[in-house]
Each structure stands twice: as structure tokens, then as C-alpha cells.
């Protein structure tokens, strides 16, 4: 079946329960053996077929009992309440890995590693990301709050800036690594302080990350 053409581009904030640097980004196992994460995306420019997605936001919380590639996870998709019915359907298709080559996007990989996809929520999503300082937040009132800031050197207290590049990444090619705090009261409860976070400019289509 022919895939509907889609593209999204814009900043992303992600944070998880791993220590700074998240070993999973290097194909090592998660710091405490499990993966619990929250993500927010501001689509600056995007489309799904003829449906424009410019200016809309997405968020998700997710949890796996082990490393993501061992499966059995759950995910809670959250879609911008400002989206029209057509936009909501388009965003949920992208987030659920449809119209995407297998393994091409983190949406497709994460959903295929989940046993449970909770019914989507349509909520107000606040998003702000400053790549230079690593200060940012994703806020879905009553559901999830993510805050990020620069990692600090434990000896000098100064900001520590490190960027990670993945030539074949299915989420980003380059990301600034940061410190994140997550509080989630939704069906996937998360509560982390000073753990891994990253900020990246996403640019992807159904064929994967645009490089």
C-alpha cells in the first residue's frame, strides 16, 4: 500500500530515567535496567498528505520494563488540543508509526516495542526550548511536566555542554545533552530529578531522519 507522504520539523525535548548521557544512545543498557521517558515536540513546519501541521505540538510518556528493544512497553500519546480532527488523525498516524518504513523513525520503533498504546489525550501542550542554554520545558497540565537545564560540572558547578551525533539515528542526527526533571501523574507515572535529557531539531519523514 502506498504511504501518505509526511514531514515534521521542529525542536524536541526528551528526558528519561537514565543518568546523564543515557547509555541507550550508545547501544548500552539503560542505567537502572528500565526505560521511562517523556517527550515533547514543537512542529514548526509539517504536513501529512495535504493536511498542514505547522505550529502544532505533540507529547508522549512511555515506559518499558527493560531496554526498549526488548519490548513490552506502554505509551501515552498526547496531541495538541488546537489540532482539527484531520490534524489529530494525521498526528496520531505519524506517532503510531503508520505511513513509515519499519525502523525509520523513533515513533515507529517505540510503538512497535509497546504492548499497550493508551487512548490518545487531546490537551493543551506548552513547549519552550533554548538549544544554546539547554533550558526548556514541556508542560501538559495535569498530565506531565518536563523541565531541562544544562548539566553542571560537579566540581566547578559550571554548565557542561556536550552534543551527541548519531549518523544513522532514527530520532535525531545531533542533540544537545542536558539535565531533566519529569513529573507525570498520567497513566504512566514518572518522577525523575536530574536525569538524562536531550534537545534536538527534529526533521523526519516516513523514510526516516532527513540528513
Amino acid at each position: 500500500m502506498a504511504h501518505t507522504d509526511w514531514m515534521i520539523r521542529g525542536p524536541e525535548i526528551a528526558s528519561c530515567n537514565c543518568s546523564y548521557g543515557c547509555p541507550c544512545q550508545f547501544n548500552a543498557l539503560p542505567t537502572d535496567g528500565t526505560c521511562r521517558a517523556a517527550v515533547g515536540i514543537q512542529i514548526e513546519k509539517g504536513h501529512y498528505g495535504k493536511v498542514k501541521l505547522d505550529g502544532l505540538r505533540l507529547a508522549a510518556t512511555a515506559a518499558w520494563p527493560g531496554p526498549i528493544h526488548m519490548g513490552h512497553g506502554e505509551i501515552q500519546p498526547i496531541v495538541d488540543e488546537r489540532a482539527t480532527p484531520e490534524q489529530r488523525e494525521a498526528l496520531l498516524k505519524i506517532m503510531s508509526g503508520q505511513d513509515t518504513e519499519p525502523g525509520a523513525t523513533f515513533f515507529q520503533v517505540f510503538v512497535s516495542m509497546c504492548d499497550t498504546v493508551h487512548p490518545p489525550m487531546f490537551k493543551k501542550i506548552d513547549f519552550n526550548a533554548d538549544m544554546k542554554s539547554c533550558v526548556g520545558h514541556v508542560s501538559v497540565p495535569g498530565v506531565v511536566e518536563v523541565k531541562t537545564e544544562a548539566i553542571r560540572n560537579p566540581v566547578t558547578g559550571k554548565p557542561h555542554h556536550a552534543k551527541v551525533s548519531l549518523r544513522q539515528g532514527f530520532e535525531y542526527t545531533e542533540a544537545e545533552y542536558a539535565s531533566g526533571t519529569i513529573k507525570s501523574a498520567g497513566p504512566i507515572a514518572l518522577n525523575t530529578v536530574g536525569k538524562h535529557a536531550h534537545m534536538a531539531m527534529l526533521h523526519m519523514t516516513g523514510q526516516g531522519v532527513v540528513r
Binding site: 546523564y20 547509555p23 542505567t31 538524562h196
Partner: protein, 125 residues
């Protein structure tokens, strides 16, 4: 006192006992709480391959990380604009055996391939 001006330029392969990605690069604590590692010189950064032998002291080998999901080589790089060791490092997998005062064995743990440009003022970025 005036310092003597110095400069070293080269390639470096480092291997430590941390998991791939080495949390210390991101100001976290080492994977196993303690740090055991070394650095050697003369490697192929692009291929992420290194071997070094110092008879009676060190035998080591570096290679690309393999994805546990797909088995393919994993290409991952760390950029540290204010780094005290490197500004860009390709990350791979290392194994090593050392003897002598600091003796240890590493098997498929954090391996770092980077260009080295240091002087008394730090890394030349």
C-alpha cells in the same frame, strides 16, 4: 613562574570500564562507581579501529559498537565544545588487559577514538 610552552597533536584511543557512552563524559558517576582505564595512540578514528601492544604492560583492541537489536555497527559521536580531553570523539567498544601496578581487564566497554590537540592552555578547540 613562566611555564614552558608545549604542544601535542595526535590520535588517541581510550578504553575504560564504563558502559558505552561513559557517564563521566556527561558529569554523571561512572557505571560501576570506580574508574579504570587508559589511553594509547595510533588508531583509525573513522573506522573506529585500534590495537596497541606494550609487551608486559598493555594489550588492547578497539572496534565499533554493535547494535544489540540489529547487529549493525552503531555510529555515535560526542562533541564537547569546552572539553578538557577532546572536542570531538567517535565512540566505540574496547577490550584490554593490563599488567603491572595498575592491572585490570576490560571486555567490550566504553571505547573513545579522538584526535588530540593539547597544550598548556588546554584542548585547542
Amino acid at each position: 613562574m613562566a611555564r614552558i610552552d608545549w604542544l601535542i597533536v595526535g590520535k588517541s584511543f581510550g578504553n575504560c570500564n564504563c558502559d558505552y557512552g561513559c557517564p563521566c563524559q556527561f558529569e554523571s558517576l561512572p557505571t560501576h562507581g570506580a574508574c579504570r582505564g587508559f589511553e594509547v595512540f595510533e588508531i583509525d578514528i573513522e573506522a573506529r579501529k585500534a590495537t596497541a601492544s606494550i609487551p608486559g604492560v598493555l594489550e588492547t583492541e578497539g572496534r565499533p559498537i554493535k547494535s544489540p537489536a540489529t547487529g549493525q555497527d552503531h555510529w555515535v559521536r560526542i562533541d564537547m565544545p569546552g572539553g578538557i580531553e577532546f572536542d570531538i570523539a567517535e565512540i566505540g567498544s574496547g577490550s584490554a588487559t593490563t599488567k603491572g601496578a595498575i592491572a585490570f581487564t576490560l571486555k567490550d566497554s566504553y571505547g573513545q577514538f579522538n584526535r588530540l590537540r593539547h597544550h598548556g592552555g588546554g584542548v585547542i578547540h
